[in-house]
């Protein structure tokens, strides 16, 4: 039992338990909807955490990939006549491809330059979605047909809870696999010292690109899920604010901690719900929370908690 607790797979098991047992305590479908949203965002953030927390590369434009997935399931059925599930796969592939093409030159940048370049990338993608009204319905977005799998209509918080939850568990499992493998060690090494990694034979550019592409695919799948769940997609879903939400979720929860990514997602999805009570003050509180957590818990929530309780 002890070994399981210390094993990186503990996160996966814990998550699976949560997903499986949570419905027993949730009082209404509203809460299931919230949970489903948390799972969807967590998927994107787990991917982003792979890039930022493990490989150490900043991306302030990840919502762009999220948006690609989201728009894929809208544009696919509407303009290309393909079924939603195929559009989802296509969207993920498109995001991965975009990340692959843009990744090589972008990842040569470091630090602040990389941050701004990814920012620019995200903005450009969002701008395309806003402007190409013929394809994307412009600033008002476009409707997304519901997912139909083998003639079975997927609809409603309950179903999406399970789809998102199970996908998250699988996604987390894959992530943990990766981290515990030579690729994962290479990524962590790159984060700590690129120079030393190179000298030890690690093809730094290739691994950064790998992390970038994988995180893009995670984001795209999450984006597609959200679009299918909501039935609607607008350019906001690929916007700067959303990219920042992702980064904040990752950092708040704790970079380099997979569980932290999930906690961060939960926090930022649920907090605004709590905050709508405040109406106009919502943004103020959100901004204040971001600032305060970064000042007092700079490593993120989960690592801070782990440090406190790990001593026992």
């Amino acid at each position: 039992m002890r070994r399981l607790l210390h094993s990186p797979y503990a996160v996966v098991v814990l998550l699976a338990l949560i997903v499986a047992l949570l419905p027993l305590v949730l009082p209404s479908t509203f809460y299931m909807r919230m949970a489903a949203l948390v799972f969807i965002f967590a998927l994107a953030v787990v991917g982003l955490n792979l890039l930022m927390g493990f490989a150490g590369q900043v991306s302030l434009g990840h919502a762009g990939f999220f948006g690609i997935g989201a728009y894929a399931v809208a544009v696919g059925p509407a303009h290309l006549g393909i079924p939603s599930w195929a559009a989802l796969v296509l969207g993920a592939a498109a995001a991965g491809l975009m990340a692959f093409i843009v990744g090589r030159p972008i990842l040569r940048l470091r630090g602040h330059y990389l941050a701004v370049a990814t920012l620019g990338l995200g903005l450009l993608i969002a701008l395309v979605f806003t402007n190409e009204a013929a394809w994307t319905g412009g600033p008002d977005g476009m409707p997304v047909p519901r997912l139909v799998v083998f003639g079975f209509r997927v609809f409603g918080p309950r179903m999406w809870y399970w789809i998102a939850g199970i996908t998250l568990v699988i996604g987390t499992w894959i992530c943990v696999n990766l981290i515990a493998s030579p690729t994962g060690r290479a990524l962590r090494a790159i984060h700590d010292s690129e120079t030393a990694s190179r000298v030890l034979g690690v093809d730094v550019a290739r691994y950064k690109l790998t992390a970038f592409v994988i995180s893009a695919i995670y984001a795209a799948i999450a984006g597609a899920y959200l679009a299918l769940f909501d039935g609607l997609v607008t350019p906001i879903t690929a916007g700067f604010l959303r990219s920042i939400e992702f980064v904040t979720m990752a950092v708040l929860g704790g970079l380099g901690s997979i569980f932290g990514a999930i906690v961060g997602a939960a926090l930022l999805v649920l907090l605004p719900q709590v905050l709508t009570v405040f109406h106009d003050y919502e943004h103020i509180v959100l901004g204040a929370v971001m600032i305060l957590i970064m000042i007092f818990l700079p490593t993120g929530i989960v690592p801070a908690l782990a440090a406190r309780f790990g001593r026992h």
Binding site: I174, P182, R185, R188, A196, R198, G201
Partner: protein, 260 residues
């Protein structure tokens, strides 16, 4: 094994190296010494692919590798340690060394994504190798400690273990005994001799003259980017130019006390 031929490089108008040539054979311990600023680390950086020289060539095992990227050089059997430790501080000691095994691991990413049994076997094998190497450099019982928590002397040896993990034919050690007390230095001295005995060509940059004079087969002296002498320890010790530039009277006395 490793040959450099008239290497020259400059930064912003300052010539850091000029006309530097040397040759190192397998199993040999070759030291490069010189006053601070002589260009020793720069030379290492040129040889290990971090800098591209303005002139001259570097050959490894007969192949021209001038300006080749570091990770490609690693594949050809070149490895190094760093003057200002480039340890992976957030990883454990064992993990640091395991990264060194990267070139010898199978890197099929799909297998990694799904942790196929081959990956589990490989992880176990790499881990065992890492533990062996840690023992080789005299670090036991700290395999799972975070590198950031280890004492300085241990970190120096950890970097050596990590560099050895790539199974290099040529190993560049940049001030491996810097900041170490005499006990730690003696331990590192033993490790270096073991490494050379196993057939690796060792190139050493060091300021600790006792260590250098004791274990080096040949010594190359740099001053302001140029070679001023090369030879055995005894020859270099007696060389007037070397004494004037670097050793000084005190240094000469110190090196004369080093056992041969």
């Amino acid at each position: 094994m490793l040959t450099t031929d008239t290497i020259g490089i400059g930064f912003g108008g300052v010539t850091a190296l000029s006309q530097v040539s040397f040759k190192v054979d397998p199993g040999e311990i070759f030291a490069i010494i010189g006053p601070n600023g002589a260009g020793k680390t720069t030379l290492f950086n040129v040889v290990s692919g971090l800098y591209t020289p303005r002139e001259g060539r570097v050959s490894l095992g007969g192949e021209d590798v001038t300006g080749m990227a570091p990770h490609l050089l690693a594949r050809r059997g070149l490895s190094r340690t760093f003057q200002n430790l480039q340890i992976f501080f957030r990883m454990s000691a064992a993990e640091n060394v395991m990264v060194g095994r990267h070139l010898h691991e199978r890197r099929n990413i799909v297998a990694h994504l799904f942790t196929l049994p081959s990956v589990l076997r490989q992880n176990a094998f790499t881990r065992a190798k890492a533990e062996d190497l840690l023992a080789f450099v005299g670090l036991t019982g700290i395999a799972d400690r975070a590198a950031g928590a280890l004492p300085y002397g241990a970190l120096r040896r950890l970097e050596i273990a990590r560099a050895l993990a790539t199974e290099p034919k040529v190993l560049l050690l940049d001030e491996p005994a810097a900041g170490c007390n005499p006990v730690e230095t003696a331990e590192i001295d033993e490790v270096i001799q073991k490494i050379a005995a196993s057939g690796v060509a060792v190139v050493l940059v060091e300021h600790d003259m006792k260590l250098v004079m004791k274990i080096s087969h040949r010594i190359h002296v740099l001053d302001q980017g140029r070679t001023i002498a090369e030879g055995t320890a005894a020859e270099v010790r007696a060389n007037e130019r070397v004494i004037a530039a670097y050793l000084g009277k005190h240094g000469r006395a110190e090196s004369e006390h080093a056992p041969d």
